[in-house]
């Protein structure tokens, strides 16, 4: 793996250092060689940390049981963060033939976003169509809505016996009871694959963003108290928003992409997005661009340029000053638009199947 393919590299990872130390996360590097056909997100060190991924790899190598799980809050269109998590579990499903679970957290969107279960069902159908279009094998995945799964909710009650209000407050801040209970329901989601009806106790790995780590720590804590295996996790870096700031957020739709964006709209967003370009064409030529801080490069790197060689070329021609931001934006915007178009075509054909999956009751 070339450093060129890891342009944000060490400096960015340094920002995560305190998490490594404070919470016992481990850098993922030493495990990469054990991953079959490492996914783009691994190859490019966008997934940078883990907890107990080695236990999943041990289980895989020794032909023992293991699983991956993830989920989505059905409060909006499938955005790039959801895509990242989906690609991660799809990677495990394909390369490890692993047992896979996917929770549609409609009770969380009910209490957190005040979205009714009926409204959430519509969003969920749309989200699951994205998931299938990305390549998840629905036949080999337990996809469920929290509102239609008894055990997850029952486990939330069980979990509540093992936390104090102070613990919940320390983790989630002062929240209303429904939010705390939604967090405990997510604990239920994460522990569900270990129930006897899902082949029992085993290592389960959850792909998450760093901001989700409190859930993981809470779940690990509770898992030990109810005699289950503490779940592992892998951590990806956040995608910044198209203006180059912080994390993509649903609060500013023009600064984020979703898998539902019309290709020409996505193109426009990219043409307006933050780059690492210099003030003048002259400076750009002489000093080169700064792909390390460029959102257009980040889009290519995180999501839309699968080919490492092409990505490397974009990076080096930018660095050398041979590439202008205008050209580059146009090229990447075109790649993104084509990717969205192709995704949406696939997705269209999968809506019926998604509906069938989402509308199942009493799972």
């Amino acid at each position: 793996m070339s450093d060129v393919l890891n342009p944000f590299g060490e400096s960015k990872i340094e920002n995560y250092d305190h998490l490594f130390k404070e919470f016992g996360l481990k850098p993922i590097d030493s495990l990469l060689s054990r991953l079959p056909n490492p996914h783009r997100l691994f190859r490019r060190k966008i997934i940078i940390a883990h907890r107990d991924l080695d236990k999943l790899l041990d289980a895989f190598e020794k032909n023992k049981k293991f699983a991956v799980m993830s989920g989505i809050k059905p409060s909006s269109a499938f955005h790039l963060g959801s895509k990242m998590v989906a690609e991660e579990i799809i990677y495990f499903q394909k390369e490890f033939k692993t047992q896979t679970h996917y929770s549609i957290a409609d009770l969380e969107s009910l209490v957190d976003n005040k979205i009714s279960l009926e409204e959430a069902e519509k969003n969920a159908i749309d989200n699951v169509a994205d998931l299938l279009a990305l390549g998840l094998d629905a036949k080999k995945t337990f996809i469920y809505r929290q509102s239609q799964q008894q055990d997850v909710k029952n486990m939330a009650f069980e979990a509540s016996n093992h936390v104090t209000n102070n613990m919940l407050k320390a983790i989630y801040g002062k929240q209303h009871t429904g939010i705390y209970f939604a967090a405990l329901t997510q604990v239920g989601d994460i522990l569900l694959p270990q129930l006897p009806k899902f082949t029992g106790k085993k290592i389960v790995v959850v792909p998450v963003g760093f901001d989700q780590d409190p859930h993981m720590r809470l779940t690990r804590d509770i898992s030990k108290k109810i005699n289950l295996i503490p779940p592992g996790s892998i951590y990806h870096k956040f995608m910044r928003n198209l203006s180059g700031g912080a994390k993509m957020s649903k609060r500013d739709p023009s600064s984020m992409l979703t898998m539902n964006d019309q290709p020409h709209v996505a193109k426009k967003k990219i043409m307006r997005s933050f780059t690492g370009g210099r003030e003048t064409a002259e400076e750009q030529k002489n000093q080169g661009g700064r792909p390390e801080i460029c959102m257009v490069f980040e889009l290519a790197n995180f999501h839309f340029v699968e080919d490492d060689k092409l990505l490397k070329e974009i990076f080096s021609t930018c660095k050398s000053g041979a590439r202008t931001c205008g050209e580059c934006k146009a090229q990447v915007a075109d790649i993104v638009a084509k990717a969205l178009e192709s995704h949406q075509l696939k997705k269209q054909k999968l809506v019926g199947k998604a509906k069938e999956i989402v509308c199942r009751q009493n799972l």
Copy 2:
């Protein structure tokens, strides 16, 4: 109705006066004439208060929809309090042909008593056998465990959107999150009969003890916010314990009766229980006994002497001094033992049916 049949009568009711004023409960007296074949508990003013029972009677008289609901926490044997509530809904079911719901609050026993769902299932089978033996028509009743009912739990999440932590704390004191959520789940239980799948919005009356009124107020409050009809309720007085103090409590088994007590054990408990007898036989003869404070009379009045004439005779012969406590205890103990024997014989034959009902999943 004779005052003699209401020996605790007004003085006792006065103790409840602040509840009437503070929370808007109404004395039930003026509605008694509208009740078909009033049950012993109504006739003897053991049920003394209500909220919106008149709305149920209106609906009944105008051939509109209505329902009754109740439930049990499956944490122990069916005690006399459970029996009282059961008899009340059975009365409505028989005399009003009403839609009837019965919740087995196994999620509440999980968080409140740390009883596992498996353990609760065993208790529930036993409890439901009692319920059937008392005469509930299972075919016409929706009996379910909270752990196996999605809507009740989903409604708890919905309900959580309409309460603050401060409200919950004011009602239930400082409790852990699971207890608060169990309370919201009970709100779900009470509102369930109003879901479209259960014939929609309607007045639902819940028989409760006075100590359950906070649940009722919380549920009424939330029902208005989610566009349902505030549930009504009827209130019975507490059965004191056999030592004559406070309420019967599971913490002191020797001072309470359960429907599982062996008849000879129940007899012994009654022979040892608190009476209104005088210090000496002489005094008893001259001044008469005090059935108003006697637990043996309370057992007869609340539960085991169905015949008003016999009850009246017990009362008046006690009052007149013609009856000694020894005789009286022996007579009532015998009645109770026979009643338990007969109940337990009926029950034995219903355990299979109870098991079938309780073990149903995904209701």
